[in-house]
Every structure is written in C-alpha cells, then in structure tokens.
C-alpha cells in the first residue's frame, strides 16, 4: 500500500523532532519519507502473533552495589560552554 506523506505532515514531524526546515526541504522529504514508509509497510506481511522480542543475547538483570565514586570534573564538563557557565552551572535563556 502506498503511503502518502504531505508537506504539511513533514512540517508537523519537523516540529516534533525540533528541526528547522525550509519549504523546499519539506517538499523533498515528503517524497522520500513517503517512499520509506511505503517500503516498511511490508512488515505487516510477517506473522508475528504471540511473538515478543526480549534481548539480543541472554543477558538480563545486571546489578551492582550502589557505591559513590568520583565522576567527571565539573570544569571539564562545562568547558564546551565556558562563556555560558557561571558558578559551576550552565546559564541558558529563560524557559518560562
């Protein structure tokens, strides 16, 4: 079954994905995403009744003792935005 994705659909997805798109980009992606979704529709042909994926290998329930250890240095972590950090915190524009 052919899956139609409109330019409006793409713009809506872009909002959900937090990506700025030009109108031109939206037109290209509408065509491409439509083709991709049409292709993956074929998954419906597989009988998966009662089947559940659990894990790749048989590894499960990995536990460890909760012992505090030194973590990364605050200065190191902030150095990619040094000009925007203050007193060990990152300063961003107000959200509300």
């Amino acid at each position: 079954m052919k899956k139609n994705i409109t330019v409006e659909d793409v713009k809506k997805i872009a909002i959900l994905a937090h990506i700025e798109l030009t109108d031109e980009e939206a037109i290209t992606y509408a065509k491409q995403i439509g083709a991709i979704l049409t292709y993956v529709e074929k998954l419906n042909e597989v009988d998966t009744k009662g089947v559940e994926f659990k894990s790749q290998t048989d590894l499960k329930n990995v536990f460890r003792e909760d012992i505090p250890k030194p973590s990364l240095d605050q200065k190191d972590v902030l150095r990619n935005r040094l000009s925007k950090s203050k007193g060990g915190s990152l300063v961003i524009s107000s959200v509300l």
Binding site: V40, N80, S93
Partner: protein, 479 residues
C-alpha cells in the same frame, strides 16, 4: 623490505620487540604516508601528529631501559570519530558537534592506551554512522584509496581507507548495520562486528543503542583477533557488556576445519548480487570444501523483511539518541537568545539531509498512534529474525555470504536515492538486530580490480569460530 606503514600489527610488534625498528620510525612512516595520501583521500578528521610522536619517543625510551610495556606498545592506530577522546575534538562526522571537545575517554580508547598503543588520528565517517559511503560527512567525502573515484564504503569509511593505505596499522570502527563490514569489504581489509555486548560501547556516540558494536578494522585476521582480545570484556560503564570470559582468539586460529559445517544462505546469492561477487563467494565455498568442510544450504526466509525491521528500529532509536544534540551544552553554538529557537536552529543548521531524514522518520515511527504499527511491529519481526538465525546455527557452525552485493560504487552514484542506498546493505543490516557476530574478509577482486568482501556470520559470542574459519581461508588462498 616493506615500508613500515605496510606492516601488520603482529609483524610490527616483532620488529619493535627485537629492536629492529623503533616506534618513532613506525609512527613517522605512518604520518608521512598520511601526509602523502590525505590530499586525495581525506580519511582523517583530526590528526594527532605531535602527541603521537611524543608518545612514540617515550615508549622507545622505556623499551631501551627495559621497562615493562603494554601488549600494543608503540603501535599507531586510528579511531572512528564517534569515540570520545579526552582533550581532543570528537565530531561523529556531524556539523552539530563542531567544536566539541570531550571531557572523557571512551572505554575502547582507555583500553588501547593502557596497552601503550598510540592514537595517530580520528577518522571520517557518515554523521552518527548514517550511511554506507562516507559521502554524508560534514568534513568532506572520503575517497577509496584503491580507486579514488569510488567510495570507501561506510559509515566507518575513513577507518577503512586509513587501514588500507597505511595511516596507522589498525583502526577501531563502529558497526550498527554494516558500518565496519561495508568499508572493510570495499577497501579490501578485515572488519569485525562483534557480538552485541562483547565490547563496551561506553563513550561511543550512540546511533542505535540496541545495535551498536565496537570492533577492529585490520589488514589481516590475526591482527583482528589480537585487537579483539584487548578491547573485549565486561565494563561497569556499559551494563550491556557480557561477563563471559574473553577467549585468546589467536590460540584457535590453527584448529582444523575438517568435518565442520558451512551454511550458505540461498537468499543471499540471488537477484541483485553482482556476478563477480557471486563468483567470488562460489570460489570461497570451494576453498572451504578443500579444507574439509561440509557445505549446507540454509534458508533465512524472512531476509526480505529484515531491512525494513532494521531501519524502523534503528532510526527510532536514533531519533531518541540524537535528541541530546540541542546546542545547549556542547557542539554547534547558534547565536540566538530564545531557548526553543536555539534548539530548532541548531538541529536545522547542524544536521545533514540524511540526519534530518532519519530523525524525522524515527520520530514519526515512535509518535502517538503509529508506534504499534511501526516500532512495535518491527520489534516482533526482530524476534522472528532471531529465531531464524538461532535455528540456522543448530545445523551449521557458520554462515557464509557476500558482505555487500556489489563492490565500491562511484562517488555520487547513489546519493539521490536514499532508499536504493539503504537496500545495498541487505546482508549486513540483518545481523545487528539479532546481535550475532560477523566478520568481513577479502575474497578476491572484481573485473575492475576492486575488492570483494565475504561475510562469515557466527552464533552469539562465537568470534573464536569466525576467526578460525577466516584464518584458515586466508592462509589457504595465500598458498
């Protein structure tokens, strides 16, 4: 005598230990080779010339004093630029991480450094591993050193090209759906995608967390076995690593293959496979017969659905993993004061078309009302694929397939048609959802002289089996 950059790791270690060469000479040879090749190949995003030479000198001095050295002392290597390396830039091939300097080392880097190996540089790749050609990188296209008009494969294309031409003696790639095996195939080298959980992913920038694997790219099978012995094993920083003991893979390379069973997957030699590639695989089958193996035809009946399942899950996980690329803490810094605008613009400017496409399709596949139809259905198909694979291994020791249905395409040949590019990965993407290991090794050349790769697939944690089969083949065709 070979140029030093042409040596394998095992050969170089012998010469270093017998003091016939110094690490400084070896590193210098690789750096000169890089200088010679990079203007046409562009395999590297970052080259650590000074620190590599300094480290080499320090190791030579320690060796001269008779101090104890690590198992890879003085060997230059490269890392795909998805591995965090303290105090060095890490871009993942994406503009969105431009300027990012990591505050920590990935586990694989820490392990190699603890064995006194020398990081020579960080290699180019499709952004976040999104691609099979290294044409999508924000840091330029990488060319295939064997024919510079062709792609090196991807996404670890820089690593493939660097190992092929001698820019370091080995590289660590990252494989989510063939990103180690495809460039290994196109560049004529050996590339291992290990079992999921065999090598720690800590510090590897995530593409699809349930597929991602860390593996060696080397000139031959023995080098691959040696490097895996060093990088494999449990890591408390990656809860998905296995505590199964790491075998000494080199010790079983010589085991006889008499009476072993090789499964040939009939669906992987059908339509769409180049005749030269098919011929090469048929020849390899004859080699295994000569080695005393029994050949068994195997069917993986749901192969046709594997690509679709792979992509739905892979890009869903990618869209989630890439949510952190928001420009707030690191990477591309778009100048605007409004917080939401900053995120949207950072991603609009920082992501390439392939990144945008995958994040958007993944977002769609996970969105309310569609998650059952796409993501959950794909996970169920994944369970069916795993059943098929485990069933195959009840009858055979390994599976033998082409790595890629084609040899390296020309640059620009497939870039306009993303779906066609995705379909090229049919034999590699089917492996990651089920988590088994797979190895690509050279198996001859096509009529244009481009390398053909053959893929050996083993059961979970069966890397020792893969290396045994690969080494026996490699030695036999050398005769």
């Amino acid at each position: 005598m070979k140029n030093l950059y042409e040596l394998t790791v095992v050969e170089a270690l012998k010469l270093l230990e017998s003091r016939e060469i110094t690490s400084f000479e070896l590193v210098t040879s690789c750096l000169n080779r890089i200088e010679e090749m990079e203007p046409t190949i562009n395999a590297f995003i970052h080259i650590s010339k000074e620190s590599a030479l300094e480290q080499a000198k320090a190791i030579d001095e320690k060796r001269a004093k008779g101090e104890k050295l690590g198992r890879l002392a003085g060997i230059p290597y490269s890392l795909k630029d998805v591995y965090n390396t303290k105090d060095l830039p890490t871009t993942a091939g994406s503009k969105v991480l431009e300027g990012y300097v990591s505050p920590y080392d990935a586990t694989v880097q820490r392990k190699l450094q603890s064995k006194d190996a020398i990081l020579i540089g960080k290699t180019n790749c499709d952004p976040f591993g999104f691609g099979s050609s290294t044409e999508n990188s924000a840091y330029g296209i990488t060319h295939n050193p064997i024919d510079t008009e062709r792609v090196p494969g991807g996404s670890s294309g820089g690593s493939g090209a660097a190992v092929q031409y001698g820019g370091g003696l080995f590289s660590i790639g990252e494989d989510t759906g063939g990103s180690i095996r495809c460039p290994a195939s196109f560049c004529g080298i050996v590339g291992l995608k290990p079992t999921y959980g065999r090598v720690s992913r800590y510090g590897s920038i995530a593409y699809a967390s349930s597929y991602d694997t860390v593996g060696p790219m080397t000139k031959d099978v023995r080098d691959s076995a040696l490097i895996l012995e060093i990088i494999a094993g449990i890591d408390e920083l990656d809860a998905t690593t296995s505590n199964d003991p790491v075998p000494t893979y080199q010790s079983t390379l010589d085991t006889s293959l008499k009476g072993k069973r090789v499964g040939v997957v009939k669906e992987y030699l059908g339509e769409g496979v180049d005749s030269d590639v098919k011929d090469a695989i048929l020849k390899a089958i004859e080699v295994y017969k000569e080695l005393g193996c029994e050949i068994v035809e195997i069917s993986l009946p749901n192969t046709e659905y594997a690509i679709a399942a792979y992509y739905v899950i892979g890009i869903s996980e990618a869209s989630s993993n890439l949510a952190r690329m928001d420009g707030i803490r690191f990477g591309l810094d778009v100048n605007t004061n409004e917080w939401k605008e900053k995120i949207i613009k950072t991603r609009g400017e920082g992501f390439s078309p392939e990144e945008k496409r995958r994040v958007m399709v993944g977002t769609y596949a996970l969105s309310a009302g569609y998650a059952d139809k796409y993501y959950n259905k794909a996970q169920q198909v994944r369970a069916v694929l795993k059943q098929d694979m485990l069933k195959a291994f009840e009858n055979v020791d390994i599976l033998l397939t082409p790595t890629m249905p084609v040899t390296a395409p020309k640059i620009g040949e497939n870039t306009d048609d993303p779906l066609k590019m995705w379909l090229m990965d049919a034999f590699t993407v089917t492996i990651n959802p089920v988590g088994v290991p797979a190895l690509s090794i050279p198996a001859g050349k096509d009529s244009n002289g481009m390398p053909i790769g053959m893929q050996l697939i083993g059961p979970h944690f069966g890397e020792d089996i893969l290396y045994n089969f690969a080494y026996q083949y490699e030695q036999k065709v050398k005769e």
